[in-house]
Structures are given as structure tokens and as C-alpha cells.
């Protein structure tokens, strides 16, 4: 676990870089996390995915996997990878300040 300063707030991240306390997250932190993940600018399309991930997490206790994300949002997996080349579910979850999606057991 490490403490990181994002948008001048101290937040705790786990070893993989996910928020330990999702309630610490605010929207103003998202662009900075995105830059750390190699996404220079969050477009409206990025934001749509990030907000959706966050609301699914608040609703169901876990963010969706890529496949479920594509099925529910109607955005194809291919397009999701164009938006988040390093892995849509994982990177969008980081930017949304929620834990790693629990798709795989």
C-alpha cells in the first residue's frame, strides 16, 4: 500500500494502483490518474465509461469486466480498447477510483 498525492489530495493506493478507499475519489482526480496511465486527455467518451464504471461499482459492489461493460454499454470491446489500450476494465476502474473488477475467480 502506498500514499499518493493526486490533485493535491493524499490518497491510499494498493500495490496495483487501485484506490483502497473509493470514497476518497473525486472527479477532479480523474485526469491526473489518466495521465499516469498514459491517457493524455479524457474525452467525453472516456468520461462516459469512467462514470459508468463508478456507478456500476456503487450499485453492485464491483465494476464490470470488459465483456459485461461492452454488453451493457453497447460500446464494442474493440472501441473500448481504442479508448483504454492497456485494458478497458482495469484502467477505467483505476481512473474511476474503484477496486479492480472482480470478474475472474
Amino acid at each position: 500500500m502506498t500514499t499518493s498525492t493526486i490533485a493535491s489530495h493524499d490518497v491510499e493506493l494498493n500495490d496495483e494502483g487501485f484506490f483502497v478507499h473509493p470514497e476518497d475519489w473525486t472527479e477532479e482526480m480523474a485526469p491526473e490518474i489518466a495521465r499516469r496511465e498514459g491517457i493524455e486527455e479524457l474525452t467525453p467518451a472516456h468520461w462516459q465509461v469512467v462514470r459508468f464504471m463508478r456507478s456500476e461499482y456503487l450499485d453492485k459492489g464491483t465494476g464490470p469486466t470488459v465483456r459485461v461493460l461492452a454488453k451493457t454499454s453497447g460500446v464494442s470491446v474493440k472501441e473500448l480498447y481504442e479508448l483504454f489500450p492497456k485494458g478497458p476494465a482495469k484502467v477505467a476502474a483505476k481512473i474511476a477510483g474503484i477496486p479492480k473488477p472482480r470478474g475472474c475467480i
Partner: protein, 428 residues
Amino acid sequence: MTRHVAVLGAGTGGTVVANRLRRAHPQDELAITVVDQDDRHLYQPGLLFVPFGLAHPEDLVRPRRRQLRHGIEFREQPVDHVDIEARRVVLGDGSVLAYDALVVASGAVLVPEETEGLTGAGWMERVFTFYSLEGARALAGALAAFGGGRLVVNVVDMPIKCPVAPLEFCFLADWYFREHGIRDQVELVLATPLDGAFTKPVASARLGGMLGDKGITVVTEFNTGEVDGEHGRLIGYDGREIGFDLAVVVPLHGGAPYVGRSPGLGDELNFVPADEHTLQAKAAPEVFVIGDAANIPTSKAGSVTHFEGETVAANVAAFLEGKPLSPGFDGHANCFIETGFGKALLIDFNYDTEPLPGHYPTAFGLPLLKESRLNHLGKLMFESLYWHSLLPGHDIPGFGAEMPRAGKHLSHLSHLSHLSHLSQGGQP
């Protein structure tokens, strides 16, 4: 008054629950109807062995109705949909089955057509799966004829049935090609969407090490976007490509299609969300779910289904009697992992405790997370236990619903959160 329980699916879960309920309740109290679209019960753990000539397809199938106790009605019909509001099931022939309690036990289905190219050129020629009987049989022929080259085992995405089976396939392939004297001409690659060999850290490290020792390359976080059978390559969504001469693909899984036609019952993938301890479906209080059909955070595996059986049968009865449900299921999973050369290792875990080294079920039992011939015998013996003890719904000594802690080396757990769970719920 006779209450009616409808069980959808006569695989492991449906058979166990129906038999347990039938044993515990007289027929004038409880009528039980089990529905399945065919009368062929497949012993799924046996599929892994078919490609290597270690099991024969025809030996793995028995009639479903023969596994059900006397006094259980069996209807051989597909399910069209469930009307949750009206508490009735509409079958393929239009007939209607009204119920007081429903058990969804219809497992998972393969949806290879959801991956671009997978069922196109080369399917069943150089691209196979061993997750179906016909696939496993066809792969046996292809392996026997394989003269060398790159064999890629690919998991398209989770969740899948038996998440250790792709690893076992790699281990057995290593053994098989050594036996045939061509191991040095075969490159074995495992391409997985996971970030390691397995989903749980301690076991993942151990299994990853074993793959390395056997010269099997692991490509992690590979999300298959397309299978190009014609040119022999897997194409990842991130642009990475893996060439192959022979591909063994575990296709995407989903729940039974009728779940998608039953408003309110399933999730996006047609699995049925349920309480992870009582197995009561979120859809309605009188609906329960068992086995691979469920969306709960444990593995899709026969052992899990067996352990769930006790809780589901008890809770169906409790619900009908107006009693509180038992939160009895702890996520217990127990898997023999075949590692080739007559050996296997065993893993045992639940929601709170990941697979650890030690012994099962006590310090004098089978070794955990360690290769041994005893575990291989355990795996072989299990087939007979499956037909004769597990399906009839008998308790199997040393194979109980609750995960035993006695023989486990809990010191391997480094996470405080896990330890706090242990101190709350644990047996010493």
C-alpha cells in the same frame, strides 16, 4: 398440501438437489419435477482426459433420469422461459409447470460464436476446444497426428468452468508429447486473460513455477479479440499476436439462453445473481440457484456445486416451511489438478481463504498444493464417487460443505484482512 419444486437442469446441481429433497421429504408433501432438454448426463471432469486417450467419450455419459431417485418426475423438454411473477415455467412444447419453489441448475453454455473468427476457418481442424464432448474427441485425433510446432492453449475470457482445466491441459500435453518422444519439437504456450497462471496469489505463484519448470510459456493479460484459423494466429484486442500450429481454445461462457428470455432472472451474461451464502436468487424469494448457473464469487466447478447442494436443498425446504434460510455456503471449492506423469496436486479454498499448502482435510490427509501420486488416485477415484455418492446426494466423509482449516498452513496468508476473517469464523 403438496408443494411443488421445479428444478431446471439435471446435471450435477439439479440432480444433487432433487435427490437430497426427495430423501428428506415424502411425496405427498413435496412433488419434484426435474427438467432437462436431453437425457445425457456428461461427467464433465472426464473431458480433460479424452484428447490424450486417457478416457473414452462414451464412458463419460449416462442417462440423466437414471441418476434421479424414485419419486422424482423427469421431463425431457427444453425450457422456453420462466415467468417469475406468475411462478411458472413454460417448456418448449408450450406446456406449463407451476412451482412453489424453483431451482435454477442449468449450468453454463459455451458461446464460441461470440469471438470473431473462432468458429470460422480451421475450427475443428486446427482450432479445437476440449470443453465439449465432440471437441475433445476431435482434438484426440489432432493430437495423435501432431508432428510438432506451436500448440497454444487459450482462455478467451473469464468466467469459465473449472479455471484449472487449461493448466491441467498444459501439464498433460507436456507429458503426452514426452511420452511420444517429440516434446523437443513442440512449443507449448498458455495465453490467459489473467495476470498469472491462476486467480489466487499463492496457488498462482506455485502453478506458474510448475509451468515454467515444464517449459511452458505463459502469456498473461491476453484478451483474445480474434482467432484467425486460416493463418494460424490469435489476435489480442491490444494488437498482440500469437501464432499457432494448433490452438486449444476455451471459448466464452454464458448462462443458459432461456435465462435471457426470463425477465428479471439473469445478468448480462445470463448467469443468475444470488446471495453468496444462502444461494437464494436476487430475482425472487422462491427462486434458488446452484452450480455454474449462479453469478456468485466462487469457481464454476463440480466440487463447488456439490458443496452448495446441502445448502440449497435445506433452504428450499426452509423457504417452503416459512423458516429462516441457512447462510451455510462458504464458497468452498476443492480441485485436483492433474500435472501429468501419474501425479496431481490438490487445492482447497473458499470465499475468505485462498488455496494454501498443507494437507486435506487434516494434517494427515492428502498434500495440498504439492504434486503427489495420492492426489492422482484421488482424481481417478472421484469418477466413481461422483456417480455413486455425490449425485445421489449422500454426504462424502472428508468432503464436507464447510472448508476444513485443520491441515492448512495459514501462515502463508500475508493479508491482515484474511486473518481477521479467520479469527471470526474459524475452527482452530
